[in-house]
Each structure stands twice: as C-alpha cells, then as structure tokens.
Amino acid sequence: MSALEIRNIHKRYGEVETLKGIDIALESGEFLVLLGSSGCGKSTLLNIIAGLAEPSGGDILIGERSVLGVHPKDRDIAMVFQSYALYPNLSVARNIGFGLEMRRVPPTERDKAVRDTARLLQIETLLDRKPSQLSGGQRQRVAIGRALVRNPQVFLFDEPLSNLDAKLRMEMRTELKRLHQMLKTTVVYVTHDQIEAMTLATRIAVMRDGRIEQLATPEEVYDRPATLYVAGFVGSPPMNILDAEVNASGLKLDGCEEVLPLPAAFNGAASAGRRVKVGIRPEALRLAAGSGGPRLAANIEVVELTGPELVTTATVGSQRITACLPPRTALRSGSAHAFTFDETALHLFDPESGRSLRTE
Amino acid sequence: MLKSTRNALIGATLIGAGFTGHAQAETTLNALFMAQAAYSEADVRAMTDAFAKANPDIKVNLEFVPYEGLHDKTVLAQGSGGGYDVVLFDVIWPAEYAANNVLLDVTDRVTDEMNKGVLPGAWTTVEYDGKRYGMPWILDTKYLFYNKEILEKAGIKEPPKTWEELAEQAKAIKDKGLLESPIAWSWSQAEAAICDYATLVSAYGGKFLDGGKPAFTTGGGLDALNYMVTSYTSGLTNPNSKEFLEEDVRKVFQNGEAAFALNWTYMYNLANDPKESKVAGKVGVVPAPGAAGKSEVSAVNGSMGLGITATSKHPEEAWKYIVHMTSQETQNAYAKLSLPIWASSYEDPEVTKGQEELIAAAKRGLAAMYPRPTTPKYQELSTALQQAIQEALLGQASAEDALKSAAENSGL
C-alpha cells in the first residue's frame, strides 16, 4: 500500500512555474529525501503535501485518499520546520501536546503521551521550560517531539537540521535515523545537504527547477547519477566532469592526448565522433603505481590535507580535476603524476541534455 | 396637519398619564450660553439654580462657549436634532435664524405685562419681520469708560463728548507722557471689531445697508473707519487693540494702562472691584461720544436674547426657563453686570444704587442704540467687514478700498 502518492503536481505563481509535474509514490515506512539547492521547488512541494499551499494542478493522496482541499489538520501528517516553529509563549510540554490538545485528547492521556515522547527524545527534564530557555539542539528535539507525539501517517521535515552547528547536526542526524528505524513511519524530508540525504534516505528525489532529476536509492544516485546535475550535486568534493569525444579507440579528452577506455555500460550510446561529458568521482582516482589499467597524466597544483584524506587539484591537459587520495600519500605541488581508476567508475553524459548515456 | 398634531398630543397625554402614577417625570433642558461676558458663568449658574429650586422637575444642563462659537454651535446643533432647547443669540442673528428655521416663533407666548414692561428698544433684539424669536436678556451697548485719575493728571475736566474731543484728550495724555497709547478697543478680527465700528458708524450717521445693498463705503461708514485708522496710526490707540477682544480691553483698562476704553456694561462693576482691578474707584463711564454736528452720543445694539430652538422637545419648559431668566426679579438681582430689560428697574434704588453713573450713561446710551444690519447673510457681511477693518488698520489698503472690497465680498 502506498502511504503517499504525488501525482503530476504543478504549481504556478502567475507566470512562474515552480513545480512542473512531480510524480512520486511512497511505500509505507519509506524515508524520502527531497534534495536540491534553494529555489528548486522542494519546500513548495512539501508545503503542498502539508496543505499549506494548494497545487495549481495534480493530486496528492495520503493513505490512498485524495487530500486536495483537505485542511492540513485533517491530512494525518506532522511537520517539523526549519525554524522549529515552536510556540514561544507555551511551555515545552504544551508545545509537544498542542496537537493533542487541539484534538481534545483528555489531559491525562495527553500528559502520558507527552511524557513518553519526551522520554524517547531525552528531554523529560525540560518540559516546564519555555522555548527561549532551550539550546538549539533541545529546540530541535522539542520540534520533533511535537511531530512524533501525534503518531501521524506521514512526517514532513523541512530542512530540520540546517540551523544546528556541524557537530549537533551529525548527532541529530543519527538520532533521526534511529527514530525512523524504530518507528518505521513514512517520512518526507527536505534538505539541500547531500550528506543528510545519503545517510537518511531510503530514496532520494533530486530536484531541480521544479522537476525531479532522479528518484532512486542513495546508492543508485551516487553510483549511477541520471544527469550531470545529480552527478555534480551528490558527492563531496563533486564529481569531475571532463569534456571528451568518442573515437574509435575510446574517449579522447579535450586539451590533451589522453584516451580513456569506453566503459561497457555506455557502449550502445556512444558512436564515434560524438561529444560527451565524462564524469569521474574524485574518490575513484588513485595514484597509478604500475602500468595496469587506464592512466591519466596530471600536473599537481594544490594539495590539501583534510585529515581523513588528501584532496589534490591537478590539471589534465587543459582541464582541471580533483582527486581524493589516502592521507599519507606523498605528493608535492608542481610534480607530475598519473592517476588510475576502475573503468566502471566512469560516467558519460550527453552535453546538451545532461542525461546519462548509460544503456543498461 | 392639525389633526395629526392633535392625535400626537392625545397620545402623548395618554403616555404621560401612564407615567404619572410613578415618579414625576423629569425633564432635562440643554441651554447654550456664552462664556464670560455680561453675566459671568457663575451668575448664569446661580440664576439657573434658583430656577431649579423652584422647578424640581426640570433639570437644566448649561453649556458655555466663547462668543465666537455661539453661532456655529447653535446652527450645527440643529443637525443633531435636539442639541439645545434654549440658546442665547446675538441681536444680529434673528434674521438668519428665522430664515433657516432655527428658533421658534414665540410672539404669542409674550404676555401683555411683558409687552408693556420691557423697554421698547430691547424688543428689537429679538425681532425679525414683525415676529419675536425669544426674550431679550442682556440689554447692552458699548460705553466709553475713562480713568478719572489719569484725566485729572492731564488736567482734563470733562470726559469727551465727541470722538474728535476724545482724540484731543488722548493726545494730551500721550504728550504729557502719562500713557504711551491711551485708548483701548477690541479690534481683533472678530465680531467685537464690528461693534466698535458700528458705534462709530452711528455717531457719524452712516448706514450699513440701503435697500439691502451695502451702503457703508461712503459717508458715515467711511468716516467711521477713517477715524479708527487715524486713531491707530497716530499712536493714540493701543496698537495691540487689533488683537484684543473685550476681555483684553478690560484687562488693560483695569491695569491702569488705558485712559479710555470702549466696552460693554459689564466692565463697569468689574473694573470697580478692588479684588480684580487696580483702578477701582477711578472708573468713569459716559455714553460713547457723538460726532460734531451729527450726533450727541453713539451706541451699538449689543443686546442678546434667549430663544427656544425649533428642535426642542420641551418648548413649554424651555419657555418657563426663559421667563425666569428674563424676569424683572432675576434681572434686578444681577443688575450690577447687565442692566435690566425692564423700564421700571431704572427707577428702582436697589438697582441704581452704587452705579448711578452707569445708569445715567445707560439712559442716554440705550436710547441711542444703533442696530447692526439685519440680513440672513450677516455672517458673510461681518466677516468681510472685519477683514476690511483689519486691512485698513494695518495699512494694507485705504479705508475706502477696504470697504469697497468688503461690499463686494459681503454676498449682498
């Protein structure tokens, strides 16, 4: 049974179309991340699911029931906002219990539910405080608690971690993952942070300009990006994109003499003479030790040690690439080296449409 | 019409009968008076209290506005359908009020006794087109007050009989250095200035209107304004006069800073009150002077009347109140501030005692009272004339030109 179905959703503001036909079907218990940079329409889509905005066209089904025109409160959803949107003048306990209060749940029952939720989130000691007396992380927990206590069919998260510092963000991310594994509720989660997307999602919808570029599991999005945009958006540092042309012997990179082998997965799509974009992730590159495998001769320009890895920027002919190497690699700027990689790590894209040329 | 009125009356009687079983229905009257003039606010309140004592079933709310607000308030209250029951009105307004149906015609309510007892001149205050719109209440005109001490110091034996003489005497006082500017008038851009002007117009035998058309641009009207301008420019008149109202004139006179002042009756007893005044006991009063060869004395009719508004729901009670306020008894009791409208009061020693000098002046002045024009467009005429007077005084226009443009702007 699908918990949430989004059918051909359009949204127009006057001339501007911010959503151009979105289709997603979620199974119960899925954790869907809407990933994209700001302005891509992901928050609008979330608001439409929540009922805070009305779509210009299309349909939303929650639990197989169309919720178009249904008031947010009757959609059986809960939402956590980027700003937490805690009620500043109400205590933490009342914040968490507000939804139950509005639904006229008897006080004793409500109180129990609030305490259970607070225990789950380890904020029992804060129940009597006002939001202004809480730290950022605590506020975040209250906001999540407010959503949890209602036990809705679908949880909506709008960039819930973006206001936290890096360390807290990681903690809360893990916490969210733990909660999801425990509660197995359907979640729609909006973020622009690809790490959050990769770690939390069961499926990621990468959005751009009001469209879904790719809807797939995190592994697939990472390993088989459907478009140049997805390839560039997911992964840090981003995938290297090089201009090349297919010739009889393989992929001839622009601005140098290197010819790379054409991976089998792209065989059918690339005929000789075709211009392509070649993508390869920085972490797929290794320093070539022996003579086996494909080689990329490069001049090292900058070497940065981040701790766990060594990030180097180098030029291959007239093009620039980044590589992530093991931290203890001996590398000096100005030196010449050769990189090697597995043939399967290459991705080919059509330069015009940006679509992947993968044929299998 | 008659029939429906009668039905209404019957209905009212029935309803009234229904109520008489309970407490006596109390009527509340609203009355509009002027703040501070002949009768002070306290006096009016005291008179009203006496009425309330005699008529416990009638309550009177009093309202006091400055003279400048009296006309507009009365007219504007018309719109509210029952602002006031009793209003004080100036001698100049009956024409307009009659034209716009502001006041009730009370001709038939006036008794024979009233008809005979009240001074004939006083009646003109409330009459327009042969009908009476109220009872005269304040019988007033402007007198020439003088400071006996200053005149004595200047070697002047007799107060002036003509306006020219006034100028000469003032010059003598000024030349002796007794006062910088001996005469005080109320020439502010307000009705007060018109009263002073009208006094002079009467002295010079001028006319405001002739056959409904302005006639003040020549003859006496022009002479009057010329006199004012000369007096002002020669420095005999206190230059601040052009900003004065009557109370300012009184203050200046009481402070001993004016040898002569033109003002209403009320100033006599106030200026003679040692608590108020520095010149108590030195106040002389004569009728306003005449003009050589034209008049003996001059006077403006500055009387005011009390009337019932057309919108009053209690005309009977209102009339009762007016009768009380204008009764000889009430008027005699407060005769120190405003002389009674009743002829016989002037022979009553109770009234004349202590103000013989004023009574003597009044007998001559009241008889010579000159009316300001009776026209429904009085407000516009007056406004235009006020401007003309001020322009002439300030030298912005010659007296003749100023009056001519006033005639054009008067709406007549």
């Binding site: 009305e54 | 900003e243 200046v252």
Partner: protein, 293 residues
C-alpha cells in the same frame, strides 16, 4: 500562497476594516463630489445642480488664491525648519554628553502635548500685553516696546510657524536619531580611516541612512502642514486681516460659518486634489530614492 481558501479568508478578515472605511470615508467623499456641483446649504436646503459654477467661483476668487499662498508658505517654511532643526538635534543627541538620556526622553514632550494645548500655550506666550515673549524680550533688552505678535500680518504667520515647529521638530529629531543609530559603527570607522572630514562623512556616510526615514517624515509632515487647522483655529482664527487664513480654515468658514455646503465641498475637493498631487509627487520621489539606494 494564492490558494483560493486562503485569499477568501483574507478578504473576509479585511471586511470589517473595509466596510467601516467605505461607510465613513468612501461614501462621504463621493457625496462631497455630488455636493460640490450643487448650491446646497448646510441646514435646510438640499440644493440644485449648478454644474461647475462652484469650482469656477472658487478658483477665480481671491480668497482661495490667497489662502493657497498662505498655506504653501506655512507648509514649506515650517516643514523645512522642522527638517533642519530635527536633523541638527538628532546629530547633537547622537553625541556623547552628560544628560543625553534625559534629553532624549524630553524630546517626546512637545510631541505628546496635544495640538490644541500647544496652540493655547503659544497663544498665551504671544499675548501682546501679558505674554511671556514680550516680557522676556524687553527684559533682555531685545525689544523696546511690546509687540502684537499675532496681530501683525508680518509676524502672525511666523509666530504660528514657530509654534508648529516647536511641537514637530522633536519628532523629526527622534526619527533621524533612530536612523543615525542604525549607521553601522564599522562604516563610520572606515570613513575615519579613509580620512573623511565631518562634512563628507555626513554627506556620504550618514546621509544615505538618513535619507529614507527623513523623506518619509517629510512627506507626512508636508501633508499634515497642508491640512493645518487646529493650531490656526486656536491661535488666530485666520486673522489678522486674513493673513493666516489657510485652506482648511477657509473651507470651514465657507461650509460651516456661511453654511454654503456646495461651494464649501468644491473648495474642499480642490484642497484634496492639491494634497493628492503633492503626495503622488512625493511617492515618485520616494520610489526614486528607494531605487537609488
């Protein structure tokens, strides 16, 4: 969010305000337009249609032209003075000195004083015989003899302007002060490092922050000054010799003292039109200023 139920709800919520405003402002305005083409009296006569006669009479009459000049003088001088004094006071209050907090608090005093009380107060101060101004000036030896401040056309309007300025410049000062305090310290510091003198600092560093708020204050004050009634009514009623008769006073006289509702209405509409033109011009200026900054 232009969802239908949201905007329907918004209109419903606006409804009480819109109904009240339409009934008490909109309808009378329309009716004033109707009246202006009639010879209606305030009380008694409904009046007949007279076409544009009222407008022609008003526009060609000397009363209107004179009142327009008077009003313009009053508005231009008092508003200009308020702006200059206000900015000077704000610059002063932005400096450090002992008692600064108290002085800032005092600035609210003239603003809080009701307009009528302010007018009354100054009328007493200007009194030709017993006023404080005459007394002070003569006792200081600045004046030989008492003067009739409100009785001379030359001084009456000036006296009114002083009274109006005294009440209103503190407001401009407070607005300007708030704007000054919004100037980032970094920027003034940077300008000092760059060696800008006091004048250039004011012109290029401070003025951009002041311009917006001051322009708004200027607009509001000009419109108010153009509508001025209270202070003049209480202090001079338009005298002496009508030298302080502003448009509002003239309309009052026409419509209420003389009870000519028709021509009063046409006069009032002409005043409205003038204020509107003024406001539209200012609005254009504001937009330009907003675009520039």
């Amino acid at each position: 969010m232009t969802g239908t139920w949201i905007s329907t709800r918004a209109w419903l919520l606006m409804l009480p305000l819109l109904v009240v405003m339409t009934a008490v402002i909109g309808w009378p305005l329309v009716d004033t337009v109707r009246l202006s083409f009639t010879d209606a009296k305030l009380v008694g006569s409904e009046g007949d249609f007279v076409g544009p006669a009222n407008y022609i009479k008003v526009l060609t009459g000397s009363n209107f032209q004179r009142a327009l000049v008077t009003t313009t003088w009053f508005a231009v001088i008092s508003v200009a003075a308020e702006m200059v004094l206000g900015v000077l006071a704000a610059l002063l209050l932005n400096q450090r000195f002992r008692g600064r907090t108290a002085l800032r608090a005092l600035m609210i005093l003239p603003w809080a004083l009701p307009t009528v009380v302010n007018a009354t107060l100054w009328r007493l101060v200007y009194n030709p015989e017993y006023g404080a101004l005459n007394a002070a000036l003569t006792q200081l030896g600045l004046l030989d003899s008492y003067r009739s401040w409100l009785g001379e056309p030359g001084t009456a309007l000036a006296a009114l302007i002083v009274a109006d300025c005294w009440k209103n410049f503190p407001l401009v000062a407070l607005i300007a002060l708030a704007a000054l305090q919004a100037v980032p310290r970094d920027i003034t510091a940077a300008s000092l490092v760059d060696g800008a003198g006091p004048f250039n600092r004011f012109r290029f560093v401070i003025m951009p922050y002041l311009a917006g708020p001051l322009l708004v204050a200027l607009v509001l004050r000009t419109i108010e000054a153009f509508k001025v009634f209270d202070i003049i009514w209480v202090m001079t009623r338009g005298g002496p010799a009508n030298s302080t008769r502003t448009l509002s006073i003239l309309v009052y006289q026409e419509a209420f003292s003389f009870q000519r509702a028709g021509s009063g209405a046409s006069l009032a509409l002409i005043v409205t039109l003038l204020v509107t033109i003024l406001a539209v011009a200012y609005a254009a200026l504001l937009r330009k200023a907003a675009g520039a900054s």
